[in-house]
Amino acid sequence: MTVQFELPRKTLDNILDGLATVITGDSDSTLDLNFVAEESDVIHIYVKKFNNIQILHTIRDGGEIKISVDEPRRSVFSSQILRDVVKKSKQERLKLKLVDDNFRIQVGDQWFTQPLEIELPLYHGSEFQERIENDSMEQIASLNREHTIEALSMMSVISPEFGCEIKENKLWIRVSDTVNGSGDVMQQLESPPDIGDSTFEYETNPVLSYLNTTTSDNIDLYLSTDGALKLITERGDHSSSLMLARRIVNR
């Protein structure tokens, strides 16, 4: 029962940071990371909060990332110590091994006679959760990540939520508050999406913190008819996605 993987420290650091913003967020409850290793040498690490939000990172065996899975396995663990240990490391790359119920982190430092090896037992306070797969989503647009972050963070000053509106072959990202003001940005779509004209509202914070912890140039924006938003970023052997339910407010 061994899963081994080796990846750039920065990649793991970003993954853990991105997931942590959802885990800690503003609620008191702590959530654990779900970990799935598949026989095809693929690893999924994700967090799900209620059924409203899921951040999923998938890494594959390939160029920058090496994965070897002896036997498929799924676990759930608290990531706090792992994250802090990764943060302190100055290595370019990290080697991790999941053996039984322990994480073993090896750093490839050649200075010591025997390189540093850290063993972390896996703790968890919550049950393993299956990840949400929503196949009914339609790709709407591909956006530039940097500019989307800029637009959303400026908008977040006006209101903590934004609207996505599809109208006449255009995607509008809007913000509006009676007191603070309003603003919007528009992207022309190549063809009218099947979803038709629609408007949904989302919390800005999870989207921003997700985008800030990814590194790709572009993000693909997907929507479903019931208003679920999915953002996908791909970078080599590492792909990630944020799935967010529309914000429904009882007025």
């Binding site: 209101s159 939520e161 009676t178 007191v179 603070n180 509202e201 007025r251």
Partner: protein
């Protein structure tokens, strides 16, 4: 004497007190022997008209069904003569000249907000001053109003205050006759209107915060929407600025919510048009509520212009 701090505050605003007394001459929900209502006049405080050169906002419009209209403005000049009294009176009264541009259409646009309409025959401009102010500057007032063709009323401070015409002639014989001898305002005339467009804005702001905080505490609500705010302000007795058009009133609420968010930092946003008190205890702990209000009072100094 009044019992609540509320009265202490509004009493400081002499403009609104005067407007409230004037309103009592036209107010149809009170029974009082001496009202211009009895000779067919109606009136509304704080009208607004869209002139080509911007908006014009006299303090009051009075009219009867024959289309006889008075645009009334309260002249807030201190009773003690300032050094430049002549210039001050001239400049205050010359502001009223632009009421001549108010058209029948503009009047009807305003009256339509109250589901009323009027075929206008004759319009007059009236300036209302306190008896004290008038007596201190009698000659100056007389010459300026004559020059400008303005009718001048004064309000005399006594047990039952008296509104009386002191210069000029009304076209309506009956109106002229009543105002020559003077009309007593309703004894509780100060209670009709607590807030007007020209009330010191720190008073309105303080009362706004007090009402919002008290409402949220009573309803044990930490969060509220912007739409609720107007409801709270006009449903709490006495209604605040209910007599002015809603879109104009909303501008006041927008500014005060903005200040609660950014200057006083007592609110935070939870969504578009949704806000909550920064700490739960602001609305759950009466001690906190009192502390906040007294801090705001120190900051705004309501009623001390």
């Amino acid at each position: 004497m009044s019992l609540s701090s509320y009265y202490d505050l509004s009493w400081n605003d002499s403009h609104t007190q005067c407007l409230s007394r004037l309103y009592s001459l036209y107010f149809d929900e009170i029974f009082w022997e001496d009202q211009l209502l009895d000779i067919g006049y109606n009136g509304h405080p704080d009208p607004t008209y869209d002139l080509d050169a911007g908006v014009s906002q006299p303090d009051f419009i009075a009219y009867n069904t024959d289309g006889d209209v008075q645009h009334i403005s309260i002249i807030d000049i201190d009773a003690t003569p300032p050094e430049n009294e002549k210039e001050l009176i001239e400049s205050e009264l010359s502001q009223l000249e632009k009421y001549e541009e108010i058209s029948e259409e503009m009047i009807n646009k305003f009256l339509s907000l109250r589901n009323k309409s009027l075929s206008v025959n004759h319009q007059e401009t009236v300036a209302l001053v306190t008896d004290k102010t008038y007596n201190n500057h009698r000659d100056k007032f007389k010459s300026v109003v004559q020059e400008l063709g303005i009718i001048l009323w004064s309000i005399k401070e006594q047990d039952t205050p008296l509104i009386k015409k002191v210069s000029g002639e009304h076209a309506s014989i009956e109106l002229n006759r009543m105002l020559n001898s003077g009309v007593n305002v309703f004894p509780d005339g100060d209670d009709l209107l607590y807030f007007s467009r020209n009330t010191d804005s720190s008073l309105i702001e303080f009362e706004f915060i007090q009402r919002l905080l008290t409402y949220c505490s009573r309803e044990t609500k930490r969060e509220f929407t912007f739409d609720e705010v107007d409801e709270i302000m006009i449903r709490t007795r006495p209604p605040m600025l209910r007599h002015i058009p809603q879109n104009e009133r909303i501008e006041y609420w927008k500014e005060y919510v903005y200040r609660l968010l950014n200057d006083h930092q007592l609110l935070e946003q939870t969504g578009s048009d949704r806000y909550q008190w920064k700490k739960k205890r602001f609305t759950s702990e009466p001690r906190d509520r009192k502390r906040i209000l007294s801090k705001i009072k120190d900051k705004l100094r309501p009623g001390e212009e």
